[in-house]
Subunit: 148 residues, 2 copies
């Protein structure tokens, strides 16, 4: 299993940081989300499994994970920062109804963009990263009486 405790532990140790219980819990939990939660949401969820973990530890841990490139920060129009288990280049879908951020996989679009910038460069600007965010509304399809 990809995100087993053992695997999580190894990721942490591989990054050269101690595999403490709060870290394992937070990093593992994050790996299970399809959306990208805030520190507060992680705190709520982690607390269920590991009661006593403080919010400060959530923040400190997330910062360590980000510094060690195990996790990515995601900013939003909202106040709070979100965290993403994935650190590779991908597209984010922002649902304006639920405020949830999810991933969108589209290698074709990735290619389109990167090919475009191979031929065209921006004057006096060295491109390090191209970020694409798609805002919109997720449709929650019901099996019966489909609202769409």
């Amino acid at each position: 299993m990809q995100n087993s405790i053992e695997h999580i532990k190894q990721s942490l140790q591989g990054a050269g940081i101690k595999a403490t219980l709060p870290r394992i819990g937070i990093y593992q939990l994050l790996s299970t989300f399809k959306h990208h939660p805030s520190a507060e949401e992680l705190y709520q969820k982690v607390s269920k499994k590991y009661p006593g973990v403080s919010l400060a530890t959530i923040y400190k841990t997330l910062e360590v994970l980000v510094q060690n490139k195990l996790v990515n920060k995601v900013v939003t129009d909202e106040d709070k920062v979100r965290y993403d288990f994935r650190t590779d280049q991908h597209i984010h879908l922002y649902c304006q109804k639920t405020n949830k951020i999810t991933d969108y996989e589209d290698p074709e679009l990735d290619d389109l963009i990167s090919n475009y910038f191979k031929s065209k460069s921006i004057p006096d600007f060295i491109i390090k990263q191209i970020q694409i965010n798609i805002q919109g509304e997720k449709q929650h399809i019901k099996t019966k009486k489909n609202k769409l």
Copy 2:
């Protein structure tokens, strides 16, 4: 002149909000920037022309402008929110050296993306807006001994 006091006043009144001195000052000042300043930066600059304007008013005014679609919010990896005079779809360049955000005009890329999504849609997701941000480093070209 595009961004004259008169023109600014009309924009405010056209949006149905009172054209007060702080609003005129803030909105006009914002129109003159090539980058996208924070509330604090606007406060510093506005204060020079209109001493006595409070930071709270800057925030309240910006919120009103955003609500009335005269100004756009821009989020960054940093703590603070930035504000953009332009409300039409365009690309942002984030300079990682100076933390400045500037506009990048590329109708060709805009077309490329919008054409792409005409043929391809995202399952269960209604696209409202596509945002492209380019992170990188602005090169400050010297006249002689060009570093590039």
